[in-house]
Subunit: 157 residues, 2 copies
Amino acid sequence: MPTGTVTPAHVGDIVRLKDAGLRVTAPRLAVLEALRALDHPSVDAVTEAVRERLGAVSTQAVYDILGAFTAAGFVRRIEPAGSPALFEGRVDDNHHHLICRVCGSVADVDCATGHAPCLTPSERAGFLVDEAEVIYWGVCPSCQGARVSPEGGKAHA
Amino acid sequence: MPTGTVTPAHVGDIVRLKDAGLRVTAPRLAVLEALRALDHPSVDAVTEAVRERLGAVSTQAVYDILGAFTAAGFVRRIEPAGSPALFEGRVDDNHHHLICRVCGSVADVDCATGHAPCLTPSERAGFLVDEAEVIYWGVCPSCQGARVSPEGGKAHA
DNA sequence: CGCCTTTTCTGGAACGATTCAAGAAACAGA
DNA sequence: TCTGTTTCTTGAATCGTTCCAGAAAAGGCG
């Protein structure tokens, strides 16, 4: 492995970071890369991916980076009940999630009517609502076949 | 009022517990009482209320009781992002929640069309959906007046 | 190209919420 | 009342996340 040289790294990522006023660092590029490769990853999953690429990176750094990215609007953090926080790169498009009760896998669902019929609760009790978060709980295709066996056939690493 | 005599306690609660095959104990009755009195309480809030009534009760007992009640269908547990689990006594009626981003207060909202228009995601990706959980994030009446956003409302979501 | 300020990363402790485990106590049926 | 379970107590453990202080990079500037 060539020293200090960062692997491929999309030029777009660098621009993106700079535009957001964030410094360009190897860990950050690796996190962006990981977010592109993984599907709704947890901090842990991102950390693992980043380490595979760069070697040693502190857990804290990944938390910091994901925090900064969330603040910058690069990623969205979702926190399903009973699960650690998950991150997704798709922002700016109003979509919701389907979550499997058995294996925890997450799938995106575009908001049916684009305008979110849900966004307008019948009575809003005086609240100033700015977001409607919808989670559809169910069982994913692969877990349906395996019935309620806790082990099932999870193909996830 | 010292000796082992439990305070009032609704007869209905006792029946309810028995019907569910649960033993009738002071802590359990106190938790039922607390759930009736409090609005979307956390484990902590329930514990506090229970202790006010009975004196010493272990935190673990409250967790156990709430766990048993959840399993029995007496209560529903909701877990808003960034908040400890909250419990509510209203079950069997399909309603959602309005949560204040500032103070965390929770308000119930009946599902607009009774039958949850949300319950049917556009494409369900093969999932077997059994529940649609909707959380409307916003700012409650009292926090609006307080001082959150000097201007009207927050532009982007 | 080096200097300097600022941001970022490291390492380790601290924390809140929740769970696990083992034994003592209380409930309910015979 | 006796007995087998369920439930409660105590105390430690775990998980995910955050807080800290200091060391290490990044980038703008002469």
